[in-house]
Each structure stands twice: as C-alpha cells, then as structure tokens.
Subunit: 223 residues, 2 copies
Amino acid sequence: MEDDDDIRELIGLYLQRESLEPVAFASSVAFLTWLSKQKDPPDLVILDLMLPELSGADVIKALRKQSAYDAMPILVCSAKATETDVVLTLGLGADTYIRKPFNPHELVAQVVAMLRRADARRSAPSQHVFTAGQLTVDTARHVVTAGGSPVDLTPSEYRILALLVERKGTVVSREELLRAVGETDAVERVIDVHVTNIRHKLGAAARLLHTSRSFGYYVDEDQ
Amino acid sequence: MEDDDDIRELIGLYLQRESLEPVAFASSVAFLTWLSKQKDPPDLVILDLMLPELSGADVIKALRKQSAYDAMPILVCSAKATETDVVLTLGLGADTYIRKPFNPHELVAQVVAMLRRADARRSAPSQHVFTAGQLTVDTARHVVTAGGSPVDLTPSEYRILALLVERKGTVVSREELLRAVGETDAVERVIDVHVTNIRHKLGAAARLLHTSRSFGYYVDEDQ
DNA sequence: CGCGATCTTCACATTCTCGTCACCAGCGGC
DNA sequence: GCCGCTGGTGACGAGAATGTGAAGATCGCG
C-alpha cells in the first residue's frame, strides 16, 4: 500500500520479476476492504506510513488486533524516518522498517528474505514425501512404499531409489547415483547390481524404474 | 558481533535495558567457537559485515548450512551499504539489514520486533508433553513414562529419547542426537551405547525405538 | 579427597551390506 | 545370423554397521 502511483507501480514490477503476485492499493481503506474479502491472508504486506485517511500506523494496529492477521509479516517503508517513528512503528507490530528513498532491489531482497522465513514456518514439514505412480519415498522416515505396502531396502538401495524418484522423469547417470550412495571409488556397475535388487524388491512397481541405455536410470510415473 | 569495542559495548547496554542478555564478540572466530559450545542456539544474532578474519557474509553462510542454526534470526548492521551489499547479504540468509550509522533505539526496536516474531513461532505449539504409543515425554518436568510408570533416565538418555519422541516418525541422525546431548567432539558411537541403555530401561516400550541402519534412530507409534 | 553416577571409549561378536566378478541376455548394426 | 557392446544377475568374500559388556575418564557432591 502506497499512495504515490508511480512508486506503487514500480514496486509492483520489481516484485513480479521475482514471480510474486503483488496486489496494490492506493489507500488504507481500499486495502482493508479487499483484505476482508480474501479467504486467506496475503503472505506479506508492504505499507507506507504516510497515507491519507487511516495512517499506516493505524492499519498495523488494526491488523494486529485480529488473530487472523497477527502473524502476517508487515514491512513498512516510509520517509518519516525519525528515530521515534521507527521505534514506534516496530513497536506496533511491524516486522521491518525501510527508509525512503530506498532502492527497489533492496526492498525486493528484504521482501524475499521475509517470505523465506515465513515459508520456513508454514511449510515446516516441507517436502519430504516424493511419489511416482504407486511409489512413494518418505525422506523423513527413510521409508519406501510400493502400492501401499512398505518395501524393505538396504541403505544404498534406498538412496538410489530416493534420488531417482526425487528426479522422476529425468535420467540420472550411474556416476551421480554412485555419489548418492556415498563417496566411493567403486566401479559404476555396482549401481546395476543395486538396481537389479531394487527391482526385485519393488515387485510390480519395478516397471516404473527404467534403464536408459548407455546413460543411466530413471523413474517415470506412467507405464 | 562487532569489531569496534565502543559500539559493541553501547549496543550491549541498550539491549540489556530491554532485559535481554547479549553476549558480545569481537571476532567471527570467537563467536563461532562460543556457538559450537552452546547447547541451545541464541535467540538472535547481530552481525557486522566488516569483520577481520571471517567476514560477516562467511559467518552467515556457515550458519545457514547447519540445520541447527538455519532458523536463527540474523540481523546485519553495517556501513557497507551499497545496494549490492544489502541484496547479497539478505540473499545469503540474513533477515534484516540496518545501515550504519544507526540509532541504538532503532536497533533495539528491530531486535525486539524480530524476537517477538521468533517467539510467536517457537512458543506457538507450546506443547510440552509428547507421546508415542505408550511412551510419554514431559519436556517441562523432564519426566519420561512408559506404560504409565516413570522411567529413570540419565540426562543424556533423556535428551536423546526426548528428541526422538518429539520427532516421532522421522529418522534422526547420530550427528543430530550428539548435538542434542551437547557434546560435539565425541565419537558418534556414543549414541549407540546410550540407545542400548535406554532400551533396557524402557522395557517393553523399547520396541518403539527403532534403528534405521546407516541413517540413525527413530521412534514410531505403531509396531 | 573419596564416592557414586554418568559419560565415553574400546573390543568383540553378530548380522547385514557392498563391491566385484563371471557369465548370460538383449539389442542394434551389418 | 553374427558380432560387439551394454545391461542383468547369481554368488562370494571383505568390510561396515550395530549391539553390547566392560573398562577407564569425568563430573558433581558431600
């Protein structure tokens, strides 16, 4: 939210370049109205302090009172930069303060940093389950299932299959699979043996594990 | 961390006024050494970019590589304030950038704002009793029960089991368990011995504590 | 300083895994 | 069909990972 049209547009452009989806508002009221209609709160709010109607500080206060928005990251940028302003604004519940004039790149970097942190929290159990067809690899439990039933793999077999499923659709070279197994100086053919054993243990799901002649192996969803 | 003695002291004083407990270092190496000896990571790190020996950027890189510290808030303050510096620093994993010269009150306000957010996350699931099957771990009282009756564990055994139960269902590496115990310069096999002892003390509930060959240990509800 | 509790290391047994090899099968080119 | 090359596979010995008992090493405490 920012009352100067040019600045608002500029910021928007820079954010889009980071494949973010900014929604811009010229006034606090417009923003709050929009917000009340959203199902999920936005990932982050950029706020100018000097706004017509409701001031930025009032917006922060209003947001922080509502439990739905009390965890939403707020970045404040403003030309009002006396020490008191900064302290007060942060005290109200803003997360970061950037002084105007700021460089767009800086703003974007700060936004990305804040989102990274928020993401880390939200998706704490991040991505640790990979699937390919009826195959699932749980990298937290180190468990592989094929068609629902667990498959008992040795550590090396697990590491090979996990890498292949994580990269499903792309051929992985024996060299890289060797590295995944452990920094050994073994002959590349070791992988062949492991793959054979994996196939036996997978049973029907083995048809997802393909050989790419003279290149390596790959896992594919279909067929 | 800040190489100018006066500034370091000044910042420390201001932080203490907020009933925080700052620990100051004049060099990156001193800080990292101290950090490796701490059981729990500090709540927040204030970092100057221009340091002798290891630069602030190197410190950030080093910290973010370790999972124990990848969530630790980092505030960077520096006179190196070109746009590129700010963007790079935030990109490395810092959370906030403050330009020198900064007002101490601003720094403190920013620190408090960051801590508020980190606190909200940490204490959000203020859960202190974890269970897995007939096992319960009360992290407030430091008491473990198996099938209702209390189990008498040594401190190290408790820490290991607590971590495993908190993360039930996921494999925890010996390395991470070692870190939980506190000693980092011990042989990883120490964990094996502790686990053996824990198993004996758990009796029937020991069947919940599994070995994941070549990966670590894990606790699972079922089976 | 002595004592007990706890931690760490070590040694050994056991079980499981890995890498290698030899040989066979499949494929494509001719 | 023949040949050369690449991949599949069964078997085996070397070595790794783990469980565990016992012997120092440390620590905290009276």
